[in-house]
Amino acid sequence: MYNGGKIILGLAVFAGLVTFPFLYNIGQADRQPDLKLDTPVIRQMAVKHCVEPKAFMRAEHMQLLNDWRNEALRQGNREYVSSTGEKYNISLQNTCLHCHSNKKKFCDECHNYMAVHPYCFDCHLQPKENVQ
């Protein structure tokens, strides 16, 4: 075999490079987003709940917000009656962010983890404490 040593060395370097990302992360647990719910409004709630059940909110809040804005602006319906019969004023900044006033430690925490960047806050205002 000609240049056998060089080929084996090359293969070893190649294998090392390819597997480096996997080896590097061995033993490091995947960091989960750390969602904080301790806002003044949520702290006051006897039973801590969102406008809809948690599982639904986690999976479908973007769709819900989309429905909210279409109903409010295009149908003139500015009140939301949830599946449990509770009434909410339809507003991103005055309802969602009234409870979730820690947007940075809640919405952003999860969105950064998932690499989603909603552009809503180019226009909608966020609670003061979240503005850099």
């Binding site: 639904f56 999976a59 804005r69 500015r78 939301y80 599946s83 205002l125």
Partner: protein, 267 residues
Amino acid sequence: MSMDRRQFMKIAGLSAVLGIGGSLIIDKAGHAGLGAGPRYEQGPNAIEAKRWGMVIDAGKIKTGEDYKRIIKACHSIHNVPDFGEAKDEVKWIWTDDYEHTFPSAENPFMDQTYKEKPFLLMCNHCEFPACVRVCPTKATFKRPDGIVVMDYHRCIGCRFCMAACPFGARSFNWRDPRPFIKQVNPEYPTRMKGVVEKCTFCVERLAKGQGPACAEASNGAMVYGDLMDPNSEIRKILATTYTIRRKPELGTEPSIFYVIGGSENNA
């Protein structure tokens, strides 16, 4: 393996049933459904009309203070930026002189006080709005109650509506408006660079049972109401007072009426 036509049809049919049926089941199971299902409502205090309109009694708005107070009421609530120059101006309610407000009703010998008096202008919420006809995304549309509104989420900034509107009621955000809003109202969104904006007849206030902010600040000089209700205050004024509208010859049927030299005949 050979297959006759009959066998092929059976297998094809069965796989179609399995495929479509299966996808329906997976859809149902995978969707975090909401059982009873939520509802959307207008809200208990919302005030409604068949066609909203407004009468502006020009004679009742006299001093510079009056104009300022009314414009500020609107612009501060809606986070309208003040760029401090005419080129980039964003405005929901503003003033202009008689010649530019009523160009077809002008004459060289008219009362000097009216010739020089500023008139309050805003979106006319036309019955046949030109802006709505040209908008390619339906970002601007007419509600069943006659109000011409903007859905900023759909605005792509093409500015066709600005070209179409004969009243100059629309402004474009050439720059990021946020640094130019002196005092931000935290309850209402701002806009961003690249969208068009204008007066919305305060739809968000009507939904709460409040009237337009300008009318509220006008000490009775601006009266809003339902043009289709013969018993409304606005119809009584229109029936007993001579009023004019801006550029009626264009056929857009504005819903904003002006009393000139009306009840208080001292401009």
